[in-house]
Symmetry: D2
Subunit: 457 residues, 4 copies
């Protein structure tokens, strides 16, 4: 390649920031059309078991994300800084630099939002991504990529691969991308981390907790949020509420009864409850029965398979279920692993604590492995600062309206406490996941006239 050719290439590269601002503006507008919103919502429903509202929300978040990077906002992501050096003509510049060739691997439960946001993030920062979406749902992203092409995305800017995990693993080992973003199960995440020697960013499972504080208020609202957090998408969100720590002040509030009633509104027809793709009914029942062996445990509601359905046996089909386990039992070393095992379905554990048991609750939260989301439902500032200061979950909601789910485009979503942790959605997430720091120190002189050869050192 001669000098002229590569200059032209480079020039093209430079304008990419503006090109991606344009692509985002066009795609945001197109995706915002009612017919297109509806098309994608229904396409998501075809492959991923969730209600129309949940599917639509996924498309809307994706659309808002694209709006955020219209115009100059992609080049603003490439903002660098400079600091004066030690002498005239010297200054140091800190850049966020692309990795180059990168890979993205995303799961079945959010067929549009997760791959689209990560893909665009990778492209915005100047990388060349290869994308693999879980093949059960990859048709959604396949359609989205066509839309992006129509909005100006150059065909050669990214690769889209359809394969099973084994083939993808082989590809990664051979192609050796500089960075691989993986969203999915902990098991695969840990394997990839070892295979790729840590050149990964991970957003894996979460056993997400919610703590209800001592100040009981807005019981109807809190019950509704609990129902949505635990059972929307049939619990198949990595941010789903897995365990609820309830201050005993809530016992007489009727909260559990309200939660039960709300869970019973869910029905297969509108997919407010539906198939579970990675855990069978038998596995869920068995897990429940194991829990019920713990002293003091009981089923609060649900606990039975769904009836009258044609869901294949390889999937799960279970009523929204809550099992109560006493706090002291949870903490016992024999029980702890069992109770905090993530069930990627409509299943939660509920427990209760008294004033002097907050320490135990915090200990339980600390012993859990996956620090993804959490909620502290309280408006007591001292209680909030105490629980927040002693926990490490990446996305933590606090206040009487706190939830565990909700991964909009306007705030960071991702785990904390792990250097491999990935974020999604915000400018910070894009910059931290899809670029690295590079420092360029300009030192153009002049060499002082008084400069004389120093001694060797």
């Amino acid at each position: 390649m001669d000098f002229t050719t590569h200059l032209k290439l480079q020039r093209a590269l430079m304008c990419r920031y503006l090109m991606y601002g344009d692509i985002s503006a066009k795609a945001a507008h197109m995706l915002g059309q009612p017919a297109v919103l509806d098309f994608f919502a229904k396409l998501i429903q075809r492959v991923s078991p969730k209600s129309y509202q949940q599917a639509l929300a996924e498309v809307q978040v994706s659309q808002k994300f694209l709006e955020n990077f219209c115009g100059d906002q992609v080049r603003f992501l490439a903002r660098s800084f400079a600091v004066p050096g030690n002498h005239l003509g010297q200054r140091s510049n800190g850049y966020r630099w692309p990795y180059g060739p990168v890979a993205i691997i995303t799961p079945f439960n959010f067929p549009l939002e997760i791959p689209l946001l990560q893909l665009m993030g990778a492209l915005y920062m100047g990388n060349k991504p290869v994308l693999k979406v879980d093949s059960k749902v990859s048709i959604v992203m396949e359609q989205m990529i066509r839309l992006l092409h129509d909005c100006g995305l150059p065909a050669e800017d990214m690769d889209f691969i359809n394969s099973d995990g084994a083939v993808m693993n082989k590809l990664l080992l051979e192609a050796n991308p500089k960075m691989t973003l993986f969203t999915g199960s902990s098991r695969v995440a840990e394997k990839l981390a070892a295979d790729l020697k840590g050149r990964v960013k991970l957003e894996d499972a979460g056993f997400d907790w919610k703590i209800l504080g001592p100040d009981v208020q807005e019981v109807d609202y809190v019950a509704w949020v609990c129902d949505q957090d635990a059972y929307a998408c049939s619990g198949q969100k990595c941010s789903a509420q897995s365990v609820l720590f309830m201050h005993k002040n809530w016992s007489s509030s009727g909260l559990l009864e309200k939660m039960k009633k709300l869970s019973e509104r869910r029905k297969l027809e509108d997919l407010t409850i539906g198939p579970v793709l990675t855990v069978t009914t038998e596995a869920m029942i068995e897990h429940m029965n194991n829990l019920l062996k713990i002293r003091g445990s009981k089923v609060l509601f649900g606990g039975e398979p769904l009836a009258n359905h044609s869901i294949p046996k390889i999937y799960g089909a279970m009523k929204p279920t809550a099992v109560f386990v006493p706090l002291e039992e949870i903490l016992k070393s024999g029980n702890f692993e069992l109770v905090t095992k993530e069930i990627f379905g409509p299943f939660q554990v509920v427990t209760e604590y008294s004033e002097d048991q907050l320490e135990l609750v915090l200990e339980a939260c600390e012993r859990m492995n996956a620090h993804l989301t959490a909620a502290v439902v309280s408006n007591d500032p001292l209680f909030l600062q105490d629980v927040l200061g002693r926990s490490v979950n990446g996305t933590t909601y606090a206040g009487i309206r706190a939830r565990t789910t909700g991964a909009p485009q306007n705030h960071w979503f991702g785990p904390a406490g792990d250097p491999r942790g990935a974020g999604i959605g915000t400018p910070e997430a894009i910059k931290l996941v899809w670029s690295c720091h590079r420092e360029v120190i300009y030192d153009v002189g002049p060499v002082p006239e008084s400069w004389a050869l120093p001694s060797a050192t």
Copy 2:
């Protein structure tokens, strides 16, 4: 632990930011005393073979680093941001959050600067570090920790371990720190990355290049910088100049002759040349002989063992050496791995390129593995932007005064292009290496009076 006790603990925690500002101010002042500077410079010289000036510079950089985090500057590292949410009472906050228990492993060549800066960074951000310094040189840091204790560092805030690598590896696997910072050889770095499943930040070897551009100027100055970059500390800096790409315009400038002369000033008495701790003389000679088998190669200067010394055989003792290899030969696949093998000693490869060979130079730079430092010696803005835009080295100097070495406290130093890459020294490096993003979304309400129970979704 009861509520009161942990509140007290937490309170103590909060004041830590101020305490570390105080510790830094005191330690900076103490380390800035001439007698203390001198003590540490000489202590470094006892265990690490470098000149007094080089050892002194290491102490001075450490002292300036401490000055940078006096007063409120530690708490300013914990600066967070907040963005309005979707409704009244909601806002999202982005924090840099500590990992908790972490480990630091540092090498022999900078016995004070590397461990001190990383240790303080870990502490500033709220972590609990265990530190292991190469045992040959750990006496320096042992003395520094005593100084820190005297300045107020609580004894329980960090652990200092003296062991060999195998014991440390075992400790890491058992203690399972949330993050491990490793500075040292690529071999160990890759093993650690796999063992710890990627929960690492690495600053490993660098095969660092320097390109002299077409605009020949300040030849004396450039020759001096080359001599220092390649041979200071007997080449035992991870930022040492390993290969020099010289535009043919420099051929007639006398640069190589000047470099030869400068290299010959170096002598064992003042340690401007000295023992090589990790490569024997034989290994260096053998490597040189392998290079000389390449067509067109030749020794430019050096190439012989040091004479009249008592350096033990397990160490290396070699004159400052430069070997010329033709550019086309470097790129041949048989030769490339050989030529770009890092020799952690006073050894560099020199080559030349013509106007139309810049592509080959850039190809060579891209094929190298360790993208640590680089230098582009030119004041031609178009040449600079071309080379900088197509390279990825983490710390890259550009301009007629460019160098490859120099890791002061005022700019980022570290590799780029790898998500595991660590930085050292600056506020950015501290924040990126020693903390992770955490998002706390406050959502305190009020719940709107008009709120009514929505349908399930």
Copy 3:
């Protein structure tokens, strides 16, 4: 007003960030439609004498600006920061806070871009603006506001006033807005600053200079940029090139001849030259004649009234004109005020300097009053750093492609060196002009149990 009512109001306020993201997205899309772009470009041409291309560029910049603040980008403008306090429960938060009621006064030459960008900036940051555009051209903004209303702008969010300056002055003195943004002539700016006791941000006239450095290159390109900088919009930009300092190396390059030829391409038919709204032909001729009295002065080209036109006598009609004045003469105190008097029309002064006269050039630049834009046409890094380091113009272009005009939405445009100086367009400009710093220090406790009443101090 009862508590419930104002809570509702406040809630509405909070959602405004999202509402303005939506308004911007809709308005950007609408304004981006070819028919709408064309409509506004032609509407601008009806009232402001500029070519179709120049008018179109103004609409396009406005459109891109709106794209920049789609989605969440308005709320991201309200990003605040927080720093830990002195004890548990204390932290300080830095906000950008709105002023409340504010005023915006904008001139005739950019009837869309200036008022629209400032208006939206004021609204984004939460202010309630009253807008007055020069009445000769206010129809453009009147149409734009209708478009904004159609995109969701609440009618009560802003006021639009049509009046002469005297009435507006009275209104300001009575309504006493917290802040007034004024773009226009220096004379009015200074009066307003005194009347409003400094509660203003100003973007007034600029006597903008361009320096051609010693490295002659790209002569055709530089000549074209000079022609556009001096004569586009018939010189009626506050960023227009008013004086050209040419290193003598350029004398033999043919630059001046090329500039002459380019100026002669301009014609009334397509408004590449046209009426001057605030300076009569006579005034320009008189100014020129005064300049020609200076020893060594001469007309380089132009210097005559336009022919064959129907431009009313109250406006100016002049060929693109350049007058040469020797550098030493410019600096004489009798001449300096004359030479650096801004003529808001197609008129520039040209001069030449030798190697040892750079000091005189910089002295001249420093003595000028209005530090708006500047250009340093050179790729010599030492020359650039020298001139940039010793000048204070707010928007300064540097490099061989440097220009004085060009006020896109992607970089700050505004004067420097004056605390009253306003900026336009970028997130920084919006935040600095339309908000002030507010610090809220939360200090929620707990009060330490060990707290005991201290002595009075």
Copy 4:
């Protein structure tokens, strides 16, 4: 001046950032010596009537401020940013640029902290300041400047003038500094703003309010904070508590009795109460009597001149005084100006409000002119967000430990709601007060080979 000379000058300029880091480190260490702390505390007491603890706190804040800008922290203040441009070779850079010659005028009540922090801020950002401190107290700063000279401050970097206000006013009008920072009375501030056409930053008087919310707790603590806020330094802080709005829930808490008792501990011997420099005893008595004419008003405590003292008649000497005025009466237009007149002495107004009167309280706060500090004493998050969202005071404390006074170096202190408002102390305050935005757009090319002369526009 020849080229070489000015290059040398510029070089010197560049190193100033490091020099000021060194000066700050040395001065911080020197000022931190017990003997020096004590010297300055007692020197302050000689000229400004405050207790030893209050004087000492002033020195300590000054010392901490200097610690904050050791090492590289001054150059970090000069951090700029860069954003990619529209084509290869173009990028825009945003700098904080010095004004050049500036002036600083500071009052009697903080003879060290205010002038020192503003002076260093001005110097850090590269300005050349002239400083005038109220001549009654300028000996303190005169001693401090000597200390700074000893720490390396070049004598020519700043000017120190001792004069009365009239002479200083003349100097400002003639020297025409680019920016003048004024801290002092509103009357002088407004005159200066007009005289200097708004080229000012102001920190003038504050009629500062405190609101006690509905949640009564920590009564002893709150009473103590009220006593300190209202009466420390005999009320001669611009942040002193001028009016207290007490929710009626506090009526039965004993708060007012506790405040009375605390006020009675103050005594002349240790200057916990002392001379008032700008308001005579008669003026305070007269003001009190005017307040007592309002229906329902009464003296809560104090209300009498100090006895047994030798304070000259031109100063005031008054016991700590609180006058109760009913809320409805305060709001009456005849009374409002009287009640909210700032008395720069130990004098406060107290009132009470019921649940449904919060609107009236907020209306009163909004009608006040000087929005300097405020306190909202409550831990109720909804109450806090309501009051904070509807007020504009620059430095606002919120939470059960909230105060109105306290201007440490770690958070912004200054008024809000006025474009002329100045801040003091933090990096943000220094940057906003002592520098302006400058944008430099590099555009070095290459000019594309395909470039062809466009048509004129």
